[in-house]
Structure formats: structure tokens, C-alpha cells
Symmetry: D2
Subunit: 350 residues, 4 copies
């Protein structure tokens, strides 16, 4: 492994490794034999950690990854004729290779959105054909928090979505692959973010916030889907036999606020990056930088040369908008180094 | 965590933790940023490690767990009208909560077997209704190696199954959750076990042999299903974003023979346990102890008292047969301690 | 079309054409335009006809065929982790090409049975792993009435199955492709057969009892699955646009007792056939002839020559048992002609 | 049944009954016993009728309805990671209650279109993420001919779509629920329409063109999906036991040109209706009337009063566009009577 290949880059927060405390937590949990599949004390403690943050009624189910969290949560709650209303670039709609359709057998109704955010009016516009057997029946609303373009729903916006969902008998699901970054951005605790907003179920991200692997499907309150969850998780191949190794990481993440610390750092690095690159002539910040993603419009000619030096994704080729993500381990030096490279390349092509 | 709760027991080899070298491998791989989803050097190296053992044509796809390995391998190779012939207590048939049926949409044809082993005659007996659209069409044969009752198919037996499968246009899949234990039992290398036997695809176990988590779907030779594998793995929620942490473990497992060392130790402990308990009056070894499982018939009255002291599973309640598994970390002391407990409890109930 | 090719044979009751009154009903219903998909008066009347026979709470959903009826009924009632307990030669298990598994995504637990009949003890023996996420959870019991070997569950037997199902929270479904033959065999009305036995849902056969095509999924009483049925039927491609043509046939079948008349005739012809062939030396009636099927053990050498003359299926090749079905249009002459052929061929090979 | 309720209306061509020759064909086919599931001479003859029109390599599979035809054709040809590119108001996308997603487990990529027509550029714009396992892989293009708004793809347009599909390894499927109306509109034979355009598979409509029920999945040329078709049809609950009754209707429809006669009549009635209503002040024809559908923009206030008198669907509530369909049995008097009603109601609200 060369230094080059492991330099911090800005392609994705999942390109980071694991936070050292995760390795420590795993090493500590690696003592002797314990029951498999979650029947161990590590799992009980990690569930308890969620309850301390979300209230005593919360339930958490650990899974391997974000694909699993989203698909299991929605499939447990829905029947196949029930569709999921989502923003058109929802991860579950565009980045799962159709895994939701295959496993849940149901349809996604993807709605074009601005700034990545679905509105109650968007939801209402999709409440069509209710009771008509020719049409799929809306069964859930899902939004990503933070959004796929790095913006953050306010508490009021989330509650309004929950309201329109519940008034119409729909489940309200939050894809929280970056939920910690959202809590930091809004400066709220998780109870405010997930309980007071009436979220029904949240895919609570771990991997992008410092875990080796692992996400949690979290129900803040009792819900009929809870009865189905254990089976849906197993059918979805998301039940870890050595679950203690996911649970111990979540325990370490949630206790003593590491989840918030990691996310706060990543958010700060994104702000810094946005300040630096926003000041470069020819670069325009495309969406408000509210969490740990910076979306920037570059001169089209700059993208390819910069990608030859650094790894990152083009978000919207037509608009020449690229995506840069920061992580818990991104340093100020990394940011400056990267911003310098952007400035240089952009200057060269202008 | 009390000492009691983490004492080595014999319930399952997945109740063990991780081998220390796995933790070391993860720590080493935790340097800086690398591409996600397998586009990293750790993954390339681990695939290379498989090629060194299986030949240059081998392909390996890392997944999270054994459920995922089996279901993805079979779903990638089959269409939904193609059924899988398997022994009636195949893991995929009885321990996946119907996950195969749900994800693959196909049928399992489960055949009652003796000593856990499917025979070519069993396969031939299921080749019915070929070409008749009312009937599912056999598309694959799957067997567990080691079997679910701790026995091991010989090389000749495997080759005969591959032959009958291939003569009839069927895929031959091996559920190798304990493939290392089988290689040790047969005293063969992996090339002999998986390539010379003409296995088409193997779910290569890591978790039960010392990993924190992680299995591999391994194709020893080119196969049409390879084209579908990347998509099937993603749809099955089995594509890890930080794949380096699975890959680095496999690399550490495969290089320098740790896979064999761990399995050999577990097998030895099972032999020792079988010797000890087989000598207890009232206990009968139910199946040949060829790998790391000991299946023993106990006096019915002994089971409940023993389970109050030690964690293990009843395999066949009617026959009063229980299952005890050894792991890479089971010590001779653990075995003697456990055998002593068995002897005492059995004596007390007689 | 030659006379030969359309001679009444005994291969299946679905080899018969349609009863003349069905053609008349269709012609009558063929007046002008009516709303599609069941929003017409013919459908309303046919549902009403079911209510007159089964009680005012009954609901009927018309579908195209028996595959559709069984799969839609079970898929509407179950979630994919819920398995269906059935006799091992249930039509849904062996004759649908895995369509149930594909559409419902769930598992069938097929139980070997004698005389085609599942018993409450068979059901109880499958109530394992309840609450264990590794295991599918039994969600329904299904039996065929008449059975696949031409026998008939008594009212007491059905009620006992319903009882064991309901005590354990399972749906009780009856595959009634030949439900009319069963009612005649038991000499009961449909209310006794389907309501007093506490059947939850019945696939009510039309095609084998004289319709051109068409079956009904009938719920004698309100059931939560009713809410899902309209969508499940549509998703299953079983919602006819010109539904009046199914409905009008059912109306004609149910009113004035044609359903019973047709079934009674077919049953009588089976009895006659059984008397005739049972008297032939070398032929043994394999199962009690209670409805419209005759299962007979022939001298093995007789089967092929007889099949060269007449079309019919071998039921159990090992036991040399063949299946002969009678239909609403089988005549006494047809029976005698067929029995004569059997006698001749059997004599020739002895 | 009152005259009122069966008056010819313009809601849908499937609100019509069956053409009298269909009833005659069914009566003729109702002679004695024949093999079930398509093993009969009627089915062989109907397949032959397709070959006479499309060439000797054509294959036809009869199914119950259009839902079945579309879903079986696409599911037989595709794997679940392969998506179907379609216009956003394709029937398979909006009117099947998600049946395609449920049965095929795959995704539909629905593209907003003008005049109901997909263009090669639309297809090319969706060829993204090829080879990337996060993305569904385009596997087919499907268009409706006639389109859902009553327009007709030219031969050149179809061939261009086939070309772009084939250049990119995609199947080209045509939903031909109204394929006969398209052939008449283009004044071409079926060979020109389906073979020379390089269509891979067509859902060939029967029901809307005079059948009681029945559609055909037609492959003009050999295709790998043919191997899967018999099983996919069975799994999809679309295999009729008394298939002669579908086949005999298709035979009657295809021989002696009834298919063209019926469609030509319906098309003429649509033209007449368009002339009449297009001349009404306040009414605007919304799409070119090329086949048997008239889409008209009405004064918003006129819609509800007119719907109180006559049954029809609103196509686009925002644009105040309604849909009127003509059928094989619509008379000139029906058209004038309906147009008079439109004129009166529109006048009243202006």
C-alpha cells in the first residue's frame, strides 16, 4: 500500500477507515464465547444506548449496511402493493441496483425535488388512485437526512412531512446514513431529531461516521412493523452471527458522544472546504453546505484534470457539479491541500 | 461482562470471537482513505490470495455472511423457475427464514438424507418433469461441506455429485461455511477440494473460522453467473462499502495457512471431545466425527439439566441427539471441563 | 378436428369443454358496453349468488384460473416470512412451477400424507421455531378438497383442521378446484362445507365444473386479507377487464344448482368407472373413490399400451397407479367404452 | 340489465363485449375433450395463424390478459437487475399496481414523453451507469403501439427504437394491446409492423379488439427468452387449462382479416368522433387522432356534468383533457349521440 493510495480524499465519507475507538471496542468485545445473532450482552447494551438517547420505547436492530437498513425497514412495514414516495435521487431509488424492488417487490415513486428536499406538497401530489386496484397505494414516505446534496431538513420540515404522512396513513422513514451530521447541523439531540418529529423508523448510519461496518434500524416508538422486523432482517441476509462486533461499535459510538464529535468534525471540515473553494474564481457552491458534503460547480474543463489527481464523483455532469465529502478523519491540512489542488487546476483551465 | 457469560461453550463455532490476527489485519488496513465497494488494493490482494490457492481463473466476491453467500451465489446462477436440489436439513432450506425463496423467487427441493449427505442417486431421483411447464426445473445442486451433521464428503463423493449435476445441466454449489474444516479432515488442499472436484461455486466460510465477519463467493473457474454476480450481490445488500475490512481479514486468513491452522485445531478439539464423551456410559456418538462437530445421543433426562449449565442446541429432539461444535479458540481444558460436566450430569440422571 | 381427438377421455376434468349453459350465459352477457374490471352488474349478481349460498358476509373475487386463485388468496393473507403448511402433493406445491414461491416470496412446508389428507397432528408437528427468526413462521394451512387423490375430507376433519389452524393463529385455506364434487360427495350444502367448518378462504373451482375459464376466491367471513385482495389480484395479473364473462358463468353455475348437478354427474360416472374397472382381474382401486377421480393400480405392463389408445396420467409410477378423472359431460357409454378398453389391455398383458 | 347500463359508451374499448364471431368460435371449439394447457389442435392452429401473418419463425404464447402478456414477456427476457426503459405513462408503469416490480423483481425507468412517444434519444439518455453494480442495468425498451394517447409510432420510428435498443444490447418489446389499430392506422400488414421493424417481442392484443378475453405474447423471431417463456407463463398464473377457448378466438380473429376489420371500424369511429367534437366551440383535440382514441380538452366545468350522463375517464385533470375510446361495435349513431351530448353540455357551461 503506497501513501498515495490511502491519502485522505473527498470521494465519500465511506472511503475513510474506522475510528480508533471502534477497533478498541471490537478488541474489548473479543473475549471468549457469547451467544450469536444478537443474544449477547453487547447487543443488549447497544440497544440500551439507543434508548438512553431516544427514550425507553426505542427499538434498534443492527444490520450490516445502509442498503440493508433501508430495504429491511421499508419491507418490514409495507406490503408489495404499497409504494414508497421518495425524492428522485434517493439512495434507495438510484444506488441500490433495484434491490428494494427485488426484495420488497414494491414500487418507488420518485419525485423530482429542489435542494434534495421533498415537501408535504410533493407527498400530497402523489396521493392518487387511492383505493383503485390498478394503482400502487402509497404506503410510506422516505427522505434522506442529511439529503443527498448535503442539505438538512429542519425540525419543522421533518415534522411537516411526518404530519402529511400520518394524516394519510403512511409510514415516515428517514434514511439516516448521515443522521449524526444532521443532528450537529441542526444543533439538536437525537430525541428532538427523531422522536419529536414523529419519525416512525430511521436507518441510523454508523459506517459513514466511523464504524468499520454496521447500521441500525431504529424505531423510536412501538410500530406494527416491529413484529415483522426480526424475520425481514434475517430474510434480507442482514442478521450477523457475531453481532457483538456491530453492537460494540455502536455502543462506543453512542456513549460519551463520539457520534456527535465525529460528525461535528466532518461538518466543520466541509465548511472549511466550502470557504476555501467558494473563494476560488470559477467555482460556485451549488447547494448550501449544511453538513459534510460540498457540491460545487466547476468549469467543465477542470473536472477531468482534477479527477486525474484526486478521487471524487461528478454529481451532475450537465451542470458540471461535483461532490466532495468530508469524514471524521479529514484534517485541516487535507482540506487545504485539496483546495489548493482545486484552485490550481481551475486556474490552469481558465 | 462476567467471566461466566463469555466462557467457551460448544453451542456454535460462531459463538467464538475473532482470531487475534484478524484484529491485527483490520488495524493494518485502517490507514487513510481507499476506494469503497471493493475498488481498493486490499480487495485486489485478497482475491489474489484465493487465486494462489485455487488457480488463476478463480474469482472471489466478498459478502457479509453465509446467508448472503449462499443466496447470492444461487440467485446469480438461476432463473426463478429453476429449483435447487438440497439435503433436507441444508442451512439454506431450514435456517434462512425463507430468505432464498424471497430473494431468488425460486423453489428448494429438499431431499431426506442419511449422515447429512446427498448422493448422485438422490439427485437423479429429482430429475422429473423436465420440460414440463407445470414443474420447476432443477437448476442446481447444493451441499454443505462439512455437512450439517459434521461429516465430510470425500473427494470422490463430491466429484460424483458434480458429475451428475453437470451431466444434467445443473450448477454444483457447495455451502462451505466450514470448508476449511473439510479440507483438514480430508487432508487435501483447496485446489483438490474445490477445483478438481468440479465445483462451480462455493460459499467460502470466514466467520466460523476466525473472522469477525465475512464470507466469500468463490468461482474456481469462469461461469456465466459471473456476469450477474456484481449486481446480485448489490441487490442482496451484501456489497460492503468499506470492503477492505472483509478483504484484509481474508488475506490474513488465507496467506501463511491460518485458515488450515484454525480448522485443524477445531477438528482436533472435536476429536478429543468425541473421545471423552464417547467413553461416557449412556452417551453415544450419533455421526462420525470428521470435522468440528460432535453429535451425541444423550439420555433424554440429561439434556435439560446440562443445558441449564451449558449453552448448546438439541439437534434431534426425538432421537435425543445434541450438537456440540468446537472452534479455533477451544482449548483442551475447555473440552475436559465440558466433558466432565456431561459425564456428571449423565451419571446423575441414570 | 377428428372425432378421435375430441373423444371424451379420462385424463383430466379440464380436458372437457364448457357446459352449454355457460355459452348461453356468455351470449346473454354480451349486450352492449358495461364497466370493466368488475364494476358491472353481472359481477354484482354473481357475488350475490355466492352470498345466497354462503351467507351475507361472503366476499368473492373472480380470477382466471386455479393457479391464480390459490396464489392470490395465500399471498394476500401472508407476509413472506410466513410459510404455508400443505400436503406434499398439493397442487400449489407441485404443479405451479414454483409460482407461489415467486409471487408470494414465501415457503411451502409440504408434509407427506396418506390418502391425500393432512391431519391436525401433521399441522402441529410443523409448529416449530415459533418466534425464531431463523425459521419461517407458519402462517397458513392449505388443503385440497377434494384431495389430489380423489378422497374427501369430512366436515369433522375440516373443522378439526380449522381449529388447529386458528388455535395457532394460522389461516385455513381450501383449494376447492373440485369443491362442488366434495359437496356432492358429502351431501352437504356449501354453507355447511365452507362456513360451518370455519374455512377462512376457499379457491372455488369453476373451470373443472363446466366453465370455459374462471375461478373465485371466496371469503365466507370478513378477514383482514380482504383489504389486500383487490391489489394482490391485480398484481397477480388476475383482474379480467371483461369480467362480466367470468361473472356471468358463475351466476349461471350457482343459481338453480347447476354446480351441484354437474358435480353429481361426474361423481356418479367415477363410481361407475370404479365399479367396472375394480371388477377387472389385475386392477386394484388405490384410493376410496369418493368424488370424480379413480386411482387404480394396473399391471405395470398394461400402462403403456393403454396410454397408446387413451390419454391419461400415471400418478405413481413406482406403484403403477394411474389417475382417471370424470367430468360433467362424461357419459355412461364413455365409461363403458373406456372400461372395456382397460379390461382388454389388462387381459392382453397378463 | 337495463338498456341504459349497457349503452355503448366511450370509456374504454374493453367496455365492449365480444364480437359475435368469437362466440361462434368458442361454440365450435366446444366439442368433446381435448388436451389441456395448449396441447390441443386449436392452439396449434392459432399459432399457425400467427405464423402465416408474421413468418414461419414466429412463436405465440396465449395468456389471459394484457397485464399477463407484458409482465411475462419482460420477465422471461430479463434478470432482476435489468431495468425496462418506458414512457412515463406506460401501462406497465402506471396501471398494473406494481405487478411488474412484484413479479419480475426489476425496476422500470419511466421517461417523460411528448405525444406518448419514446425517442431513441430518450433511450440513449438512460444508458447510464453501465457496468456499475450500484445501478440497475438497462435490459429492455418497451413502448405501447398505439401509444397511451392514441398516437401511432411510424415504421421508421419503431425501427429506430429497435436499432438503438439492439445497438445497446436491449430487448425491444411492444405493448400491442391495440396493435391492430396501429396496423390499420399505418396501413401496413403485421409483418411490416412487427418483423421488419425488428421488434423482439410483442404483447398482441385480443381483448380490446373483440375477444372475450385473451392476449398473445408473440416473438417474430427466435430469441433466448423463448426457452424461459413456458415456465414464466405458468409461474405468472397465465397458463389456461382450457386453452382452446383462447386459441379458437385468436384463430377466428386472425384468419380472414377480422382483426383488421374490427380495428379499422374502431379507428373510423374515432375519426368521426374527432370531427364532430373538434367542431364544437370550446373543445380542442389534444393529440393527433390516429387510431381509436380521442383525447380532448374540455372546458373544466363541462367534465363533471358530462360524466354524470356518460362514463369516461379524465386523462389529465390539470389540463382538463379527457379520453374517449371507440370499439369494434361503436356505431355512427353512438358517435353522433355522444357528440350531441358533448356539444350540449359544453354549450351549457360556457
Amino acid at each position: 500500500m503506497h501513501a498515495q493510495s490511502t491519502r485522505v480524499h473527498f470521494a465519500s465519507d465511506n472511503n475513510a477507515g474506522a475510528h480508533p475507538r471502534m477497533l478498541a471496542a471490537i478488541a474489548e468485545a473479543n473475549a471468549g464465547h457469547v451467544a450469536g445473532y444478537g443474544g449477547d450482552e453487547y447487543t443488549a447494551r447497544a440497544v440500551e444506548a439507543f434508548r438512553e438517547l431516544l427514550g425507553p420505547q426505542a427499538q434498534a436492530f443492527f444490520v450490516f449496511n445502509g442498503s440493508g437498513a433501508n430495504i429491511v425497514a421499508l419491507a418490514a412495514a409495507l406490503r408489495p402493493h404499497q409504494a414508497v414516495i421518495c425524492p428522485s435521487h434517493a439512495h434507495v431509488a438510484v444506488d441500490e441496483c433495484g434491490g428494494f424492488e427485488r426484495f420488497a417487490g414494491a414500487k418507488l415513486i420518485d419525485v423530482p425535488v429542489r435542494d434534495g428536499k421533498l415537501t408535504p406538497a410533493d407527498v400530497e401530489a402523489q396521493l392518487r388512485g387511492i383505493g383503485d386496484p390498478h394503482h400502487v397505494q402509497p404506503g410510506a414516505v422516505t427522505v434522506s437526512q442529511t439529503t443527498e446534496v448535503g442539505t438538512v431538513y429542519s425540525i419543522t420540515e421533518l415534522r411537516a412531512l411526518a404530519d402529511v404522512a400520518h394524516r394519510n396513513g403512511l409510514l415516515f422513514h428517514v434514511d439516516g446514513a448521515r443522521i449524526a451530521n444532521a443532528a450537529v447541523a441542526l444543533d439538536v439531540d437525537l430525541r428532538t431529531l427523531l422522536v419529536e418529529t414523529n419519525v416512525d423508523v430511521c436507518s441510523f448510519g454508523g459506517t459513514k461516521n466511523g464504524l468499520l461496518f454496521g447500521e441500525a434500524v431504529v424505531f423510536p416508538r412501538p410500530h406494527p412493523a416491529l413484529e415483522v422486523m426480526p424475520y425481514a432482517r434475517k430474510q434480507a441476509m442482514q442478521l450477523a452471527s457475531k453481532m457483538r462486533f456491530v453492537a460494540a461499535q455502536f455502543d462506543a459510538l453512542l456513549r460519551e458522544g463520539l457520534w456527535r464529535e465525529n460528525a461535528a468534525h466532518a461538518n466543520r471540515m466541509a465548511k472549511l472546504l466550502a470557504e476555501r473553494v467558494g473563494a476560488i474564481e470559477g467555482v460556485r457552491i451549488a447547494y448550501p453546505v449544511e453538513a459534510n458534503g460540498v457540491f460545487a460547480a466547476l468549469p467543465p474543463a477542470a473536472i477531468a484534470p482534477l479527477q486525474r489527481e484526486r478521487r471524487f464523483y461528478v454529481w451532475d455532469a450537465d451542470a458540471s457539479v461535483v461532490r466532495w465529502m468530508t469524514a471524521f478523519d479529514t484534517t485541516e491540512d487535507d482540506v487545504h491541500d485539496f483546495a489548493d489542488a482545486v484552485a490550481r487546476v481551475v486556474r490552469e483551465v481558465r
